[in-house]
Amino acid sequence: MASEELFYATIRDIGARFRRRALSPVELTRAHLERISQLDGKLHAFVTVTADRALADAKAAETALGRGDISSPLLGIPIGYKDIYATRGILTTGGSALLADWIPDEESTCGVRLQRAGTVMLGKLITHEFAFGIQFPGHRYEAARNPWDLQRMPGGSSSGSGAALAAGIAFGALGSDTGGSIRGPASFCGIAGLKPTYGRCSRAGVLTLSWTLDHTGPMARTVEDCAYLLQALAGYDAADPASSREPVPDYVAPLGRGVRGLRVGVVRDYFFEGIDPEVEKGFEQALATLRQLGATVEDVQIPTIQSAGAFMAIMLSEAFAYHEHDLREHPERFGELLRERLLAGGLITASEYVQAQRIRTRLQTDMAAALRRVDVLATPTSPKPAPTFTQVYDPEYGFPRGNTGPFNMTGLPSLAVPCGFTTSGLPISLQITGRPFDETTVLRVGHTYEQATDWHKRHPAL
């Protein structure tokens, strides 16, 4: 088996090895397929491994490299897709028994763009059922395990994406984020994940959870790797009604500009309620690092932040609307937890849904005001480290209030980046949020912080 170092290299480093012929895409892909076969029996990150497709993609990349085509930094890079991204001719389950036999005849726009960039598709990564319901024991699909502690959740709903990246069985992954489903797994698995601005990356060909809250985006082990993936994914798509025509800047080149002179705002309300003391300590140390790097850190107020919980009313209502037909006709095909959550959405009145959207407008205005004073907002990504399966399988375990949902409400670009570990070895994460379509600054702050620390260089023992 190839050395551990290979599986945790960066996309930039792999590209350099390809170009100097020290490594080939086929060698790299074969090594990944072998590692997946060795590790995934205990991780359950993949629903479907597309070995033949991966090797075909790798050979195509090798041919392109052979003729001197080095235009794409993602050429020959092995990637996994969250299993809510439709893949033409390849099983797409949504983590649900309802779609257990669905083989789409369409490809998601994000998938098309990654393929155009020359990536290698390793397979489909498990998602919480329809990106919302944890798989309980006995479910058609196994829940993914957290590589840092197999008895713990990797977060969700992009659970397989987070687990695969932390385990070094993919270099990048497609995630989706309705209330934190990219940033939560990134936080619990000690990797990086970016929820871009609403409309920045296409949702076309991706299963819906909540139309006005759903975002697609990249997950990787470093911020720079996320930037490479975003570069390929971002841009207008006529197939997505919410897609933006905002021009796509260069996300990679500005990463090295540092944070000197940037203003970082800290919202002390809401995001620290019920916080684990070790998470709080890790977050405060991250702020100290940003100060040392030349950023100004100051507290800011978002007067209506306590109303952000209305996010759940929007998500539940829209999810019920999307699934109502199947829920009423085939309730048995939904996992018990998901069915219960979706049905709860059917109990919210039309007036309550509209009021939640009005609250959303007010929260957007308040956040915009805060982001006129500072360049980015910093919060802990999750107030607590990854819970155990025993905890989440408790029938009384409620839906945890996270720190990520407010930025789905407001559509702002938001990045999770590792910022420490608890004494029991669980990752802690810093969330950096910026102005609409200013992913460049968000990534720059995250990259600068990451390069000044070594949290992203730690990997689980598997």
Binding site: E340, R358, Q364, E396, R435, P436, F437
Partner: protein, 64 residues
């Protein structure tokens, strides 16, 4: 939200949820609806449920 109100909503929406799960659903909905019920919808009549996202270049012009 009381359990009685939850049952009334279930009846109106023709939705069935197992009796032993009602308390969990009640808590979920109570948390989701708390900010909505706390809002005086008459206080800002011009507040619309519009969802728009403008670019960084126009920030501050119209909220976001």
């Amino acid at each position: 939200m009381t359990l009685e109100e939850l049952r009334d909503r279930m009846k109106a929406a023709r939705i069935e949820i197992a009796e032993n799960r009602l308390e969990v659903v009640r808590r979920l909905l109570t948390d989701a609806l708390r900010p909505i019920h706390a809002m005086d919808s008459r206080a800002n009549r011009t507040l619309e449920p519009a969802v728009t996202f403008d670019s960084v270049r126009s920030r501050g012009d119209r909220g976001q």
